[in-house]
């Protein structure tokens, strides 16, 4: 399919238009309470963004990097500190700078990828998770010496207007995630993405074709942690509206890993499908627990069952559909609208 503008085809434009109309015009009108924004839509956007970051490094570049939450923490605390200490800094500037700061950590902790792969790399990247969160926690400067444990973040002020309503937060996050997703699409469809995938599939052959493993891997780490950093800042400022190192635990890193794996490695739309599932399934479980069992089921049992289901799904997908939910979606779409020349990845 021939791209019309940048890497986007006619089909892309239609999809984009529809999604945007739904997201901007339809959703705000059908959403019954702000609960939906606060607890579902906004975290959906933030986690998807982190998922995009992880998809880039794991799904496209094939580097088993855990520790997304560490980079999210870096981004969140960087944003907080920039707004705190640089008077009058525009929010977007602080946000982008936070991304760069997270990037720097990404490059640093991505260095082991030049020597090791697989489970070895996974363990090495866990270091970033533990070290970054520890560092932020221990050195009071990052938390502005707040001893309460949970810091309230500043208000987001854009062009002198403070954003307070959930709707405003939602639209802001939507805008940022949309732009970054479009950039990611350009990257993965262009020469950058091909280099990443070449490194993933056969790095020796990639090198023999002139790809610099060092540059490509570090670049992937940089971009991926940039995305995680921005996701972290948005997570803190629009969703949690507070900052605490404990929110960026290894559990969050695993959640994002699940998003990428269950959603489908190596696809962009897989990230969104995966995030939707990770967020909505617990909601479903809750409903089942309260409506069907009439609240007789303990909350901890529900969360244990949640864990069991995610774990079991991981196993089931790896055995039966390693390409994830995105592939299932693609197969379903092909049934209804068969196309001769499907893209392999979006």
């Amino acid at each position: 399919m021939k791209p019309i503008f940048m890497t986007f085809t006619k089909e892309d434009f239609i999809n984009f238009f529809v999604i945007m109309v739904v997201a901007v015009a339809v959703v705000p009108n059908i959403v019954p309470t702000s609960y939906w924004y606060v607890s579902i839509l906004i975290p959906f956007l933030c986690l998807s963004l982190a998922g995009l970051g992880q998809q880039i490094i794991i799904g496209y570049t094939g580097q088993l990097a855990l520790g997304a939450a560490g980079f999210m923490a870096a981004g969140a605390f960087a944003c907080f500190n920039l707004i705190l200490r640089v008077p009058g800094i525009p929010f977007f500037v602080a946000l982008i700078l936070s991304g760069f700061i997270a990037s720097a950590f990404g490059i640093l902790f991505g260095l082991p990828s030049l020597r090791v792969r697989g489970i070895y790399l996974m363990v090495a990247t866990l270091a970033s998770q533990f070290f970054i969160v520890w560092g932020i926690d221990k050195f009071g400067w990052f938390k502005n010496y707040d001893t309460s444990g949970i810091i309230t973040v500043q208000q987001i002020v854009i062009f002198d207007k403070p954003l307070t309503s959930p709707l405003a937060m939602y639209l802001l996050t939507l805008g940022i995630v949309t732009v970054l997703t479009l950039i990611a699409l350009n990257l993965v469809r262009g020469s950058t993405g091909r280099k990443w995938m070449a490194v993933r599939d056969m790095d020796i052959a990639a090198e023999s074709m002139g790809v610099s493993l060092l540059k490509t891997k570090l670049q992937a780490f940089a971009i991926s942690s940039f995305y995680c950093g921005i996701a972290g800042a948005l997570f803190a400022f629009t969703y949690l509206q507070s900052l605490e190192p404990a929110a960026f635990s290894i559990k969050l890193s695993f959640q994002i890993l699940f998003i990428v794996i269950l959603g489908g490695l190596g696809t962009i739309n897989g990230v969104f499908i995966g995030t939707a599932f990770i967020l909505l399934f617990p909601v479903l479980l809750n409903i089942v627990g309260t409506k069907v069992f009439h609240g007789a089921v303990d909350a901890t049992i529900i969360s244990s069952v949640e864990q069991m289901v995610f774990g079991a799904l991981m196993i089931i997908f790896m055995i039966f559909q390693p390409l994830g939910m995105a592939k299932i979606w693609e197969n379903m779409m092909l049934k209804f609208a068969p196309k001769p020349d499907r893209r392999l990845t979006s």
């Binding site: 990257l187 020469s191 599939d201 023999s208 074709m209 790809v211 493993l213």
Partner: protein, 265 residues
């Protein structure tokens, strides 16, 4: 083979001097020296395990020989690693196939255009005109290669699903896309039937004839070797046992012994 060539054979573009390679206690290559001349088709032959692929891996920087030097157009490269060698005009295919299994045929070949891609990720990410234009040009070049190799019908197929022979062709196409001046082919016709082999020979000769690419070819099929190569070097047990034009090599006693399995002491 000696009709007037468009690109007459020139000076050495590749010189191996006293190359030795060991893996732990196993000597894969012992004191090998030979050269490859510009615009020629140089075949490397020898029984299985003679060290042919290892030799290619040394040239291309995947293995680092413990002894010896390799000169690229008379120059020693500072840090021989595969992408440095690629930047110096050498490309290759692999004996056991090294395609990017999860990418399409066209995308595989496009990776071959890496050295002709100067856009950085900012330009790609923001879809700037420079990146888009370059992408379009590279795609056109790859479409030409796809056409040349007669694989248009599968250009969007994921390579993992293709037959062995087709995959070999794609890998050849990927190496072609680099527009390297030296193309090293490791058994490009293995697993192909007579028809496919003839086609591959045609492609190789065409590339050598019309573009002037120097070809280094590892090949088992004697017929092919005699037919298309200008000079042949014969390896056995990691050593050179013959080096010259096909006729010379074919009648050398040492070579005949090696292939007919005379007892080695």
């Amino acid at each position: 083979m000696a009709e007037s060539r468009r690109f007459p054979i020139g000076d050495p573009v590749l010189e191996l001097k006293n190359i030795s390679l060991r893996f732990g206690g196993v000597k894969a290559i012992t004191n090998i020296s030979f050269n490859v001349l510009k615009h020629e088709v140089r075949a490397i032959i020898g029984p299985n395990g003679a060290g042919k692929s290892s030799l290619l891996n040394c040239i291309n920087g995947i293995y680092k020989p413990q002894e010896g030097t390799i000169l690229f157009s008379g120059q020693v490269l500072d840090n021989i690693s595969p992408n440095v060698v690629a930047n110096n005009g050498v490309s290759r295919t692999f004996q056991n196939l090294a395609l990017f299994k999860r990418m399409s045929v066209l995308d595989n070949i496009l990776v071959g255009r890496t050295l002709h891609t100067t856009s950085n990720f900012w330009e790609v990410g923001f879809g700037l005109p420079k990146a888009m234009k370059e992408d379009r040009k590279n795609k056109e070049k790859c479409e030409e290669i796809v056409k040349f190799l007669e694989i248009e019908h599968i250009k969007d197929a994921p390579v993992g699903k293709l037959s062995y022979g087709l995959q070999k062709k794609v890998e050849f196409g990927r190496a072609l896309a680099t527009e390297a001046s030296i193309l090293m082919l490791d058994e490009p016709m293995a697993g192909m039937n007579v028809e496919e082999k003839r086609e591959m020979c045609r492609f190789i000769l065409k590339v050598n004839d019309e573009i002037g690419t120097t070809i280094v070819l590892i090949e088992h099929d004697m017929g092919v070797v005699m037919d298309i190569s200008d000079r042949v070097v014969v390896l056995d047990y990691g050593k050179v046992i013959g080096d010259g034009v096909p006729d010379e090599v074919r009648s050398s006693q040492a070579v005949i012994d090696a292939y007919l399995g005379a007892s080695h002491d």
